[in-house]
């Protein structure tokens, strides 16, 4: 029961914020790749930095046990190949998997078609899985799964670096927005 409730509530927060940010709108989402609307970078970087710093602080105070957090395994070849395919799918289809749900809920038929494509892609993958299984464990980095262990740097240094990078994204993005058509608004 608590599992159902936490899923529904956290998911609702996720969906609400994505829609508020304009991430159900494929014109806005793909504006990032045309470099005319930097909202995707700005929102993602801010969220990643906030959560990363938040986790570090909560670990310091003992509210979170780092050992209990899920860290995806370092199959870096698989992550790179999958990232490339999802990136191409985003640029061509106008959504990523999560934002297509948001697009559908705001009445977008193209988002429903994208979701259908997601299911077809999954079925295609599953149907040839035995011959491509090796792709999912491609390029394993055996030494570490996370940046601090891999480069022997503290989480604090990495977090500071990420904050600086995020500020850079806002400065660069806002400058490039001012040089182009700028962010896509909700009144199209």
């Amino acid at each position: 029961m608590t599992e159902i409730l936490s899923g529904l509530l956290l998911g609702a927060g996720f969906g609400f914020v994505l829609e508020r940010a304009g991430f159900g709108n494929p014109n806005k989402l793909t504006g990032q790749f045309r470099l005319t609307d930097w909202s995707v970078f700005k929102v993602m970087f801010t969220a990643i930095v906030f959560a990363a710093v938040g986790l570090m602080v909560l670990e310091q105070f003992g509210f979170v046990d780092a050992g209990n957090l899920f860290v995806p395994p370092a199959f870096l070849g698989a992550a790179a190949l999958g990232g490339a395919l999802v990136g191409a799918g985003f640029a061509i289809g106008g959504y990523c998997p999560g934002t297509s749900v948001v697009g559908l809920m705001s009445g977008r038929i193209d988002a429903a078609i994208f979701l259908l494509g997601l299911l077809l892609g999954t079925v295609l993958f599953s149907s040839i899985y035995p011959s491509i299984e090796f792709l999912t464990t491609l390029g394993e980095y055996a030494k570490a799964d996370a940046l601090p262990d891999a480069f022997n740097i503290s989480s604090l240094s990495i977090d500071i670096g990420m904050v600086i990078a995020a500020v850079g994204v806002f400065v660069l993005g806002s400058w490039m927005e001012s040089k182009s058509k700028g962010p896509v608004s909700s009144q199209v």
Binding site: G7, L10, G13, F14, V17, L18, E19, R20, P26, R34, S39, V43, M44, T46, A47, I48, A51, A52, L58, V64, L69, V71, P72, A74, A79, A80, L81, G82, G83, A84, L85, V86, G87, A88, G89, A91, G93, G94, C96, P97, G98, V101, M105, S106, R108, I109, A111, I113, G117, L118, L119, L120, G121, L124, S126, I132, L135, Y141, F170, S185
Partner: protein, 175 residues
């Protein structure tokens, strides 16, 4: 109260810094409460298995990838199902309050013109396939994976943006 109502029915999209902070807060709370981050394709994979259970039960059961999920007959019985259902509810509520629900085929201008249904379908297939190769999507591996400083998360984001930039060069804007 009227102030809160005003904010909730705000028609303009939220400032990206504020949206990012709120998204970060939801993500942080998800890690604290569940030990993992937010996702999406964990659900669509289970949904594919669930549909397969009815449409092609023998083939789904025998499938090396989906078979394990239908073994107990309840492939949708997972936290991620409730989370994605929550995403749908939250997005619907937000769009409704901002009066942003319009039945339309969107994205024609930048994504293929009259070929828009095809770009949506093809993009979905690529993303669905890619998310299975990486065992995660933009939310599950990119956003959540980067928040725990994982190498896989940053690697995913790197190629995601590089190839996205490249691929979007091939799409012409309709005048």
């Amino acid at each position: 109260m009227s102030n809160a109502k005003k904010i909730l029915s705000q028609k303009q999209y939220l400032n990206p810094l504020l949206a990012g902070l709120l998204l970060g807060l939801v993500l942080l709370m998800t890690f604290v409460i569940t030990g993992h981050g937010l996702g999406a394709t964990g659900f669509t994979t289970r949904l594919a298995a669930w549909i397969g259970m009815y449409v092609a039960p023998a083939a789904t059961n025998a499938n090396d990838y989906l078979g394990g999920m239908v073994e107990e007959g309840k492939p949708l019985n997972a936290w991620i199902t409730w989370q994605v259902l929550g995403v749908a509810i939250g997005a619907l509520l937000s769009a409704f309050l901002a009066k942003r629900i319009h039945i339309q085929l969107d994205g024609k201008k930048f994504l293929g013109g009259s070929m828009r249904p095809m770009t949506a379908l093809f993009g979905g297939i690529l993303a669905g396939f890619g998310a299975r190769v990486a065992a995660g999507c933009t939310s599950g591996l990119g956003l959540s994976g980067a928040a725990v400083l994982s190498l896989a998360g940053f690697t995913f984001l790197g190629t995601f943006f590089a190839v996205g930039l490249l691929a979007s060069r091939f799409l012409k804007e309709e005048k």
